[in-house]
């Protein structure tokens, strides 16, 4: 029996039972479609997180006081309490080759009040001029904090668009005075909107000179973050190692009392989380695929029983066992393959609709599509094998006598 005969036999057998074939295919369609849709939602989430982290600056090393592990949070000596990283540490890091910029930062939440009486509770960051280059921010209007501002401990502030909107509405904040922790600051610039990074909104900030922050607002001499940009992505591990060595030496400790996190670490940790999430979604969808597969087996067993006389006849006129099993296996695989094709299309459609109407990013990958086809064909073979074998092992005489 050649493949075109086999195809024709299969086609006519499935058409002979349109309703039953349709319902069986539907089981597979739902299974495959939900796998595709779920995986696309998981991968979409992964993509969103990835781009937002890359948006923070790619060749970035972040030095935090205390021990912090990305994805697990603060392990010991929390960020708020650890005071181990100092301004001099930031200065010393400039000596490391391939370090481009060093941004020393001290951040804290304060109540900010406008003269009109509007107020907001936002993150206030004490920063230097290098903040702009390190954090990839750009100005919408006005100017950023300069070195001069830092030297003179100027009481000036740059507002993120969210803070500007909260305090001034549609008015122009440039040149106006705001009160942070009961101290007056003059607004000298507005940042361009960056959009939320998921867990931290870079637009909901006010930036003041680092010296002003440490001496006047917080009364503290330590830093909450040092952000370092490295000239080349490949130099990241080397710079990270040297910075660790340098800070250990400066702090005169054997075990680090600080953490150096690269973007790769954060990305890796979050990717792990979203991968787990994707696998979780896919396995729930996989269960419906399994149910679809059982539907295939059920239909094939019924078909084999119904067509016992046909099997007997085919054997009587010369069909070998493998011809019979191939015929029924082909029917099962055809069902699941059709289910796979329709399921991929439907799953894709669901993914598009979800991102359109629910605003969740989705991404249908080619791998997922091929995997779905492979899985659906495999289901046909796995769940079709037993019925096909039952068919092929029938005794021709008994099959012909079957009523």
């Amino acid at each position: 029996m050649n493949s075109s005969d086999l195809f024709q036999e299969t086609y006519s057998a499935l058409l002979a039972n349109k309703a039953r074939s349709f319902l069986t295919i539907l089981g597979i369609v739902i299974g495959i479609a939900s796998v595709i849709a779920m995986v696309s939602i998981g991968q979409g989430a992964q993509g969103t997180i990835q781009t937002s982290i890359e948006g923070l600056g790619s060749n970035l090393l972040t030095i935090l006081p205390g021990i912090v592990q990305p994805g697990r949070g603060i392990v010991s000596a929390g960020r708020g309490t650890a005071q181990t990283v100092k301004n001099e540490d930031a200065e010393s890091l400039r000596a490391i080759p391939d370090v481009l910029y060093v941004s020393a930062e001290h951040q804290r939440r304060f109540q900010i009040i406008s003269q009109a009486g509007n107020n907001t509770n936002s993150t206030v960051i004490g920063a230097t001029a290098e903040y702009v280059s390190v954090r990839n921010v750009s100005m919408d209007r006005g100017a950023f904090i300069s070195d001069q501002h830092n030297r003179s401990m100027a009481r000036v502030a740059v507002l993120g668009p969210t803070v500007a909107g909260d305090l001034f509405g549609s008015d122009d904040p440039l040149g106006k005075t705001i009160r942070i922790n009961k101290i007056n600051f003059k607004v000298i610039g507005i940042l361009k909107a960056k959009g939320s990074a998921g867990f931290f909104n870079p637009d909901d900030v006010a930036i003041v000179p680092l010296t002003t922050m440490q001496k006047i607002l917080a009364g503290a001499d330590y830093l909450s973050t040092i952000a370092v940009t490295v000239s080349d992505k490949d130099k990241m591990p080397e710079v990270q190692a040297r910075a660790t060595e340098l800070l250990l030496e400066r702090h005169r400790v054997a075990e680090p009392d600080f953490s150096i996190i690269s973007q790769a670490d954060i990305l890796g940790a979050l990717t792990q989380v979203t991968t787990t999430f994707t696998i979780f979604l896919a396995s729930i969808a996989g269960i419906s695929l399994l149910v679809g597969g059982i539907g295939i087996m059920n239909m094939m067993l019924t078909t084999v029983t119904e067509r016992t006389r046909e099997i007997g006849l085919r054997k009587a006129i010369g069909a070998k066992n493998k011809d019979i099993s191939l015929q029924f296996l082909a029917e099962a695989v055809m069902l699941t393959f059709l289910g796979g094709v329709i399921g991929v299309a439907l799953g894709w459609l669901v993914a598009v609709l979800v991102s359109q109407f629910a605003g969740i990013a989705t991404s249908v990958s080619i791998q997922a599509v091929f995997l779905a086809f492979g899985v659906s064909a495999a289901i046909g073979i796995v769940f079709g094998y037993y019925p096909a074998r039952q068919a092929s092992l029938k005794n021709p005489i008994e099959a012909l006598r079957y009523e």
């Binding site: 005969d5 009587a316 011809d323």
Partner: protein, 242 residues
Amino acid sequence: MIVCKGITKIYKNHSAGSGEPAIETAAVKNATFDIRDGEFVAIMGPSGSGKSTLMHILGCLDTPTLGTYLLDGKDVSLMDDNELAEIRNQKIGFVFQAFNLLPRANVLRNVALPLVYAGAGKEAREKAAADALASAAFPQNFWGHLPNQLSGGMMQRVAIARALVNNPSLILADEPTGNLDTKTGEAVLHAFQKLHMEQGRTIVLITHESYIAEYAERIIHIKDGEIIEDGKNHRRRLVNNI
């Protein structure tokens, strides 16, 4: 071509449930006979005498419980499933008591089915099927019909055409006229007679009616599974004009 020595077929009936001993039915008992190439033999006997059982053994569909069956000199009981399937496909043409046509396939495809398993190409299959339908005197304008759109006599002829399509050396026909009126029955017998006389095929015709058996050259009488008489048919009938 056929040599049967002491062929016996015993069916064990496992009565459902309980531990009662299985009931054994001997459908064929110690049958010994030869059939030569090109012979036209009728096997005759009352209902339940074991005719169909014997035909299934001759057609390599079933194996005897005891005894040896040599087909063209080869012992059938030593063959595996695949070898038996190949023999059925190439050497034997069956006409079953119930026609056993595929309901989903039209006449032409039904007739061509044995050639599908022989691995023949589509064109060769259709040509052979057309020839076979012509030898079974099946009207051409019904070739595209499905079996359930045909009369019993037509279905019988499709079944005969299917038995001829692979050019078998042995044709086994189980009550081929059982469902037919005298006239269509005669047409079918005429087809067999032609195959025998013009093409020299070996034909084994199974029937319970002596008037049908009389078209054969030789009649084997069977009763309760035993051969009770085996000899030349001295009152041979011929179908002349159809």
